[in-house]
Every structure is written in structure tokens, then in C-alpha cells.
Symmetry: D2
Subunit: 113 residues, 4 copies
């Protein structure tokens, strides 16, 4: 959980010069704040299960955490389309098509999850 | 996040005698293990954002965490239908209808989230 | 599309006496009206594609049709829980467990679709 | 249902010269074939309700129709990103931002429906 080996393939992206930074860099604090809130919700769920709280209240909290994760994903995706994908499209060529394809697959995973 | 005031309304449910305990009591350890894994995924997301990892890898991790939350919810719901709702239906009366209605609303929230 | 062979296994359910009829029988007209509206939406989508309408408008119409299908499913499910599942639970035995399991699997399919 | 007045605002898009046509034009036949299949599924649902078929079988068919609509939407969206959005991004300016925003909102509607 604490390791995402597939991310290593993109590790070099971190060293790219200004202008090629990830779209979400500017809103990092906002994203981290949002994710810490989701972490709190998931810890709240553990406490609710430990204390035998009512099933329906737990399900309501799951829906809230799921929606919060989705909002984070949608916000990240919008930045990705406006930065990474837009940059690739401006340069054109096969990289542009690959970025559109990659983004579409990520969208499909979100819609189906 | 750490407090769910609405749950207080059901606090007395904890003191109900054996046979009326929540459906999920028997699988508490399994649920807690699953939720700790989701917490690890959400912490992984924070680390990924902090370290400027690639947007698409972050979105993939969001999909995984969302699916894990959904699986927890579906497992809890099945137990709820088989215990709390089934108990209410066996007793009959308005309480039975109320439990079916309440479960249906929770399902609707899950389907729409 | 016009045939659902798996439904044959339940064909005998149609001949069960009053009281065992499907939960949705009472709201059949409402369900049919709703489904005819969805059919109209899907035909509208065909016309939009034929006439080269704008992608985003087509996607908006898809979201509307999807939501309408979900509302129909949730309404049917609530009736199913309140009738078929409740009847099985009142009788008890393995049939009760099987009905709860079957309903839970249908809910999982809805949540994941 | 048979009219989508908001689409009129985009009616002029139909007369744009080659190169500016909608991304989905090339796969129109495939899209129409897919939508006719969804229409058949929705008509199948009406027949199933009329003939009092088993609730769970109806719900299974709803999940199939919902998934088919989603696949259509995802395919259309990919073409939209690769054509309309990419064209706007290449031209740059406020129109590019507007197209990315508009696509992101359509994605959010799909994820939440």
C-alpha cells in the first residue's frame, strides 16, 4: 500500500524543467487537505465498526468518503487535461495521441469504479 | 470527521441482547483489516501528491481505493440485509417496512456515489 | 437482445398464486412509463449522432438516460426487498439466505455498473 | 424526449468545414449500431416488466444496458478529447480553457451518474 512500484516508471518526470511540471502542482495544498479529510473519514469508519455502530450510519459514511475521493480525482483530472494533455497536444505527434488514450483509460476506470 | 453525531440516535442498539447484534459483528476483524488497507491507500495518495507523482498513477490509486470502499460497503450491506432487515421482517409490522425503506435509501446512495 | 433465456428458469414464478406475485406488479404502469421514456432518450441519442450534434450535448443525454435507468432499478429493487425477499425471510430456511445473497449480488452489479 | 432544444446552439457546428467536424463522425455507424442495441435492451426491459419476469433478471438487464450506455459515452468522450478539445488546445486562448472545463464537467456527470 505504501509503495506504488508502477510509479517508478514516471520518476524522471519529477526532474523535468518548469513548464513541464504536473498540472496539480499549484493546488497541492488543497489536494493534500482534501486527502487528509478522506483519511479521517476512513479512520472514522474503523472506529464505527469497532464500536458496533449501526450499519446504515456506516454505509452513509462510506458514501461520503467515496464522493470525496471522486471529487479529488475529478479535480486532478481536470488539471491533467489542462496541462499534461494540452502540452502533449500542442507538440503533436504520437505522444499527443498516447496522452489522450491514457487519459481516456483513466476516465473509464473512474466511471466504472 | 472523527465524530458522527447522527450515530448517537442508535447508540442504544449496542446494548441490545444477543440475537439483535449487528450483522457485521462476526466479521469485524475482516472489516477492520479491509479499512486499514483503505487508510493505507489514502495515505499513499497523500505521499504521491507530495512527491509530485504522475497524475494518471494517482488516478489509478484513487480507483483502487474507491473499489475497496465499495467492496466493504457491499459486504456490510449483505450482512445488514441478512440480519437487521431479516429480523425486522420476521417480526413484521411498520418496523419491517421502515427497515426495507432505510436499506433501499442506503443502496441508492451507494449506487449514486 | 429481444430474448433473455435465463429468465426461463423463473417462468413458473408467473403462475404462483396471489401473495407471491412480484413486488413490482402494483407499479407496473409506472415502470413501463418510465422505461418508455428511457427508450425515447436512447432514440434521441441515435438522432443526435445521425445529425452530428455536439459531443457534449450527447454525453449530457447519456447521463440523463443512465440516471433514469438507475432510478427504475432502485425502485424495482426496493419492491423486491419488501416482497420477494421479505416473503422468503418469513418462511426462513435456506431459501431465505439464498434470496438475500441473490439480492446482494444484484446490488453489487448495480453499484459497479 | 424527442427534442433537445439546447442542441440548437451548436447547430452551426454541422456546417463547419472538414477538419473541424466532430470527432465521432468517423465512427458514426459503430455508435448507431451500439445505440440500437441499447434501444433493444430497453425494449426488452419493457417486455420483461409486462410479462412479470423475475425482478433479479430485470435488474441484470438494467446493469447490461447501463454498461452499454457507459461504453458508448466513454468512446464518444475519447474522440471528443482527441478532436474537439485537441483542436481548441492547438489554437490556444480562452477557447482552449473553456473546452477543457466543458469536457471535465461532462466527465464529472458521467462519474456521478
Amino acid at each position: 500500500m505504501e509503495q506504488e512500484p508502477q510509479a517508478l516508471a514516471h520518476a524522471d518526470a519529477k526532474e523535468t524543467p518548469a513548464g513541464h511540471e504536473h498540472g496539480y502542482s499549484g493546488r497541492k495544498d488543497e489536494h493534500l487537505k482534501r486527502l487528509r479529510r478522506v483519511e479521517g473519514q476512513v479512520r472514522g469508519l474503523q472506529r464505527m465498526v469497532s464500536e458496533d455502530e449501526y450499519c446504515i450510519d456506516i454505509l452513509t459514511q462510506v458514501s461520503a468518503a467515496t464522493k470525496a475521493l471522486q471529487s479529488f480525482a475529478l479535480s486532478l483530472l481536470e488539471e491533467h487535461l489542462g496541462h499534461c494533455v494540452a502540452n502533449a497536444v500542442e507538440k503533436g505527434g504520437p505522444e499527443a495521441d498516447a496522452k489522450v488514450k491514457e487519459a481516456s483509460q483513466a476516465i473509464a476506470r473512474l466511471v466504472r469504479s
